[in-house]
């Protein structure tokens, strides 16, 4: 079941990628036709953004797409495979000739095998190969009528994709471009550069003489942020998956994305981890399933699982609110509990259903407001709504105020959008809402007509004004006009506007209740953000530091307990040695260190023995010291130094 979910996600991800690259490809085909005649190599520079880890998928889908529609000859090159021009050519040949196998499948296989190993990898051999292959396909196509090859052009271009252009060595790139430009007449080459930074990098990497051989067209891919919002839209704000993220978890994931790596893949990884964690740690997660399976699963609950439900805090508070008879029934009868919890879970599903649609409506409103008091993206709004009742926040107040100042045309379009959203959600409960909103819309239209008439009236009065030239009368009418305007503070439009906003407000209050106010939310919502943070965004240095500075955190022994910055002298050896080394500068004298260590340890072992310590350190203590020091070296705190005999150098901060 988990696996299924994961697969679905990946599919979604791929689909969005595909749609993206498809549009680019459309543009490119037109480009190719016109550029083929020149001596220049047509080149597509694909600016992909800093999230390098996501590029792999993009390229894979791009090459698949090209393979399906344009050409069978595609080579994907990565910088780490190509330290020199020779390796690059080898790689290129291997990939191209391998993919030619599936075009002319059987008869050429041995030839290809031979060529791969024997023929020296050079451009001329490549072009020779290309000629032979195209000839063959030309002769074959009419006779065998292959559907696959008929979609290709007469002479399909060879597409060479450089996945990470920045990390190629400039020499290799230059050589390759110069060589291939010599052969462009025989070989219809097309290059694609994957760029992570900015298109300027091409000109920085390649001198003018080389870059003039290229005919570069720039393509900008969607930014990773947009990508994230589509994923959030599809995964979190859909009703396909019963599993949901709690507010804190979502916050952590988004923060890791925005502040650490911009990697959509990592976001998905985090989401996967959430699913795994949830199903692993929450025994009731069996109930986290599609609505259809719910009844079966609820009925198969064992007694222990029922007890688990009773133990859920949200369920307990729910029970407390019930009448005493029902309370008893809930707490004693398993069957009744099952019925009740099934009802509750269905409610929860319905709630989420409504929640999403109303959230989208609200987002339509808030995203059009100036300054975005509730955030620009729907994910911000989602977070805010999950955190606590959104109508209690200041931002919500201010956004409502702003909404009350919207002009009519905006308001009408917004309302129309809301109606569309609600209609598409196909929830039964929204029929009334939709009606109400439609009513508002018609009222607005009526208003328009009325306003037209009104204007007529005012125009006529103005006309009257013009007739009267008397100063006194003019003043009088002006005053009247003013008076009327003041008294009629709220026009009909304004009244209606208030009504609309109030209605939206009441929708929000009804449907956007935070999830953790709902009963049994623990079953569907995953909310232990700490686990996620621990596993995805770990801090090994901090953990080491704590272990060394405050061993009591891990070893719950009373003797280790101490306050503030100091540690007790009974701490493990390595802690003492570490603490002592913190007091030193750049270099540490081993003898002094050893002496200090033995002082501490001896005091710890025999606190009251006032015997004069011998100048010779005990062997065991010496050995313990050696062990602790070499452990510190392993951990990277110190290293041996040649500057002075029997000294070690400190490697961490403060060692100066």
């Amino acid at each position: 079941k988990v696996q299924e979910d994961l697969n679905k996600q990946l599919l979604d991800n791929l689909v969005s990628f595909l749609s993206r690259s498809h549009s680019e490809f459309q543009e490119k085909t037109t480009e190719w036709t016109c550029q083929m005649k020149f001596r220049e190599i047509p080149t597509a520079a694909l600016v992909l953004g800093v999230n390098v880890t996501d590029h792999d998928l993009t390229f894979r889908s791009l090459s698949d797409l090209l393979q399906d529609n344009i050409t069978p000859y595609i080579a994907l090159l990565e910088a780490k495979d190509c330290p020199g021009i020779k390796n690059l050519m080898q790689k290129l040949m291997a990939q191209l000739m391998n993919c030619s196998i599936d075009v002319d499948s059987l008869e050429d296989e041995d030839y290809v095998q031979v060529s791969q190993n024997r023929i020296r990898c050079s451009m001329s051999s490549l072009s020779k190969w290309y000629k032979s292959v195209t000839k063959k396909t030309d002769s074959e196509t009419p006779s065998q009528k292959r559907t696959s090859s008929s979609t290709y052009w007469k002479s399909p271009p060879i597409v060479v994709i450089f996945k990470d252009m920045e990390s190629f060595t400039t020499k290799v790139l230059q050589d390759f471009i110069v060589i291939s430009s010599q052969h462009i007449h025989e070989l219809p080459l097309v290059l694609i550069f994957g760029i992570a930074t900015s298109p300027m990098i091409i000109h920085r990497l390649l001198p003018h003489s080389v870059s003039s051989l290229l005919c570069i067209e720039l393509f900008q891919s969607l930014s990773c942020k947009d990508h994230l919002s589509t994923i959030i839209d599809k995964l979190l704000l859909s009703d396909q998956f019963p599993f949901k993220l709690g507010e804190k978890v979502l916050q952590v994931l988004i923060n890791i994305f925005l502040y650490h790596d911009f990697s959509v893949q990592n976001f998905i990884k985090g989401f996967q981890l959430c699913i795994v964690e949830h199903f692993f740690s929450q025994p009731l997660s069996v109930l986290c399933c599609q609505l259809i399976d719910l009844e079966k699963r609820v009925n198969s609950l064992s007694h222990d699982q029922c007890e688990n439900i009773r133990r859920l805090p949200s369920f307990r508070s729910y029970v407390e609110k019930q009448e005493s008879e029902k309370q008893i029934a809930l707490l004693t009868s398993d069957n009744f509990l099952k019925e009740e919890s099934q009802k509750l879970l269905e409610d929860l599903h319905v709630y989420h259903y409504n929640y999403v649609s109303v959230l989208r409506c609200l987002h339509v409103f808030t995203s059009s407001l100036p300054k975005y008091p509730l955030g620009k993206q729907i994910r911000d709004l989602h977070c805010a709504c999950l955190e606590n009742p959104v109508w209690e926040t200041e931002e919500y107040e201010s956004s409502l105020q702003l909404a009350r100042m919207l002009n009519k045309s905006d308001l009408v379009t917004l309302l129309q959008q809301c109606v569309e959203i609600l209609l598409s959600s196909s929830g039964k409960e929204f029929d009334k809402t939709v009606e109400k909103l439609k009513e508002f819309l018609t009222q607005f239209q009526n208003l328009e007509a009325e306003a037209f008439q009104e204007r007529d009236v005012s125009v006529s009065s103005l006309k009257e004004l013009q007739k009267k030239t008397d100063l006194y009368h003019l003043q009088k009418t002006l005053l009247e006009l003013k008076e009327s305007r003041r008294s009629k503070k709220l026009t009909k439009f304004e009244m209606l506007r208030f009504e609309v906003v109030d209605y939206i407000d009441c929708l929000v209050r009804k449907y956007l209740v935070p999830a953790d106010h709902r009963t049994l939310h623990e079953i569907l919502y995953f909310n232990t953000a700490s686990v996620l943070r621990e596993h995805l965004n770990a801090a090994p240095r901090t953990a080491l530091h704590t272990a060394l500075n405050n061993p009591h955190w891990y070893l719950k022994n009373q003797a280790l307990k101490c306050d503030g910055g100091s540690i007790s002298n009974k701490a493990p050896d390595i802690c003492i040695v570490y603490k002592l080394h913190l007091e030193c500068g750049r270099l540490i004298n081993l003898v002094d260190w050893l002496e200090a260590f033995s002082t501490v340890v001896m005091a710890a072992e025999a606190p009251n023995a006032d015997t004069a310590p011998s100048d010779q350190v005990d062997d065991i203590i010496h050995a313990r010291f050696i062990r602790a020091v070499s452990e510190l070296e392993l951990l990277g705190f110190i290293k041996p130094s040649k500057q002075k005999t029997d000294h070690v150098a400190r490697l961490t901060w403060g060692g100066c």
Partner: protein
Amino acid sequence: MSRPQGSGGGRRRALQVKFVPDEEVLKHIADDTGTKARKDKAQLSISVKTFVKKLENISDNKAQEILEEKKYVAALGICTQDPVENGSSVSGGEIYSFQTPKRSSKMAELASELAQTPEKSVTSDDSKCPEKTANTPQSSSNKKKEFVSTTPYRLRKRLAGPDFDLESESEYSASCSEEEDEEDQQEVNTVLSGQKTPAKTKAASTPRNSLAKKIKEEKMSNLVEEYFEAHSSSKVLTSDRTLQKLRKRRLNQETLHDLLKKAPLAYAAEIKELNQQHESLFSKWMLQLHLGFNIVLYGLGSKRDLLEKFRTSLLQDSVHLVINGYFPSITVRSILNSITEEVLDHTGTFRSPLDQLEFITKRFKEDSSLELYVLIHSLDSQMLRGERSQQILAQLSSLPSVYLIASIDHINAPLMWDQAKLSLYNWLWYETTTFSPYVEETSYENSLLVQQSGSLALSSLTHVLRSLTPNARGIFRLLAQYQLEKKDNPSYPGLSFQDFYQQCREAFLVNSDLTLRAQLTEFRDHKLIRAKRGADGVEYLLIPVDVSTLTDFLENEDEDM
């Protein structure tokens, strides 16, 4: 904005105006100029208003930024509510904050303080932070005051005198202590200035952003200067004592091991409890490994036993490969070889690790029933931490049917991985602090603490030489003696081949330079000597062993002769 009005009293007024809120300034201007043309006033007020607005905007933005930052910290710092152990709730600044230069006597000071703690109480209440109290004399107890008022040199004597009688009390050279005094003075100065700045900020607690920014900048530049100041002097202020003067018998590996066995492991019960906590996660690890994640363990203490336990309890029936990363001669190639030869039963060699990796990938993709668990102890060891080896391991671990579980120890280990590698590895981090000693991991380390390194190299030296002809031994002796003679010259490049040949001829050890070359090749194969080309193109020969080992070796040889 608040310009003087031009009259005699105007100047004073202007002075007063300076710190009055902007609104009042506006009012003031408006009132005064009220009798004048209204147009003027309107304009003025507008301009003032916009200015005020701008200011507000700026402060708003600042506040927003700060708020966002806080939000971020809060969101990431949620784990504090976590009841299970996790030591990562400390903010970064607390860990390795920049510190003022320190004197060598600090260690002894802290040691004595630590030693004294039990007399007072287990929870040492008044020795909260020794370095701080020492730096600020006014806030310390009377005993520490004594410490500070004396120069470090005397302090050392005082401290050392009653506690343990050192054989030589004045180990510090005179010049050294003088320098130290100077340094001390400087240190006090910096500390004082460092204290002043925050005080200033408190006193002048105006809400101006610019001021705060300035102070921040000042602090930054202070830090930078401090850093370079501290690193500018190459003088190292430590005592000159060496281990040799301690009249201490050097411990070799075995005795060390025996001694440590005798010493009881502290807090065994607690450590066991910790381990049990970690062991309860085993099944979870298995699940997550199968779901495509790889697991990395971090935290203080050897994780070898833990992984071993994991292996014996869960991996008995499946194909697994254990890699001891701490082993000094491990390479990626050997890892790959063991996979191809022992797991895939492939005999044959590969041109490069990349080819080998490709082969492995192909095999694993072809045969989906093939599964392999890879356990790597200390993935961050000296041999494996290189970029290329990490890349290969990352690619290996990204195969869906290869499950990797590894441990890291070094504090900077995560720096090995960039985004691309991290995504290949697909790590899940687990904190497993065990506090158990790194017995195996450190046993191969022969770099630190002269005690062990010397003995190892020495035994190998004698071992190799015993198997050689007397003439060869003589050649080596010659080189060793020459090197010992030149031990005081730090820039000694080695013995040039021509000179060496000359000397060998004179000692009737070789008859042609060909025989000498053959002999030297033999040495080089056993890593007994190292040849370097000098700036003048002459070949220089060097024995890469430290002086004391070499002396020991010669003494041994003399006994044998």
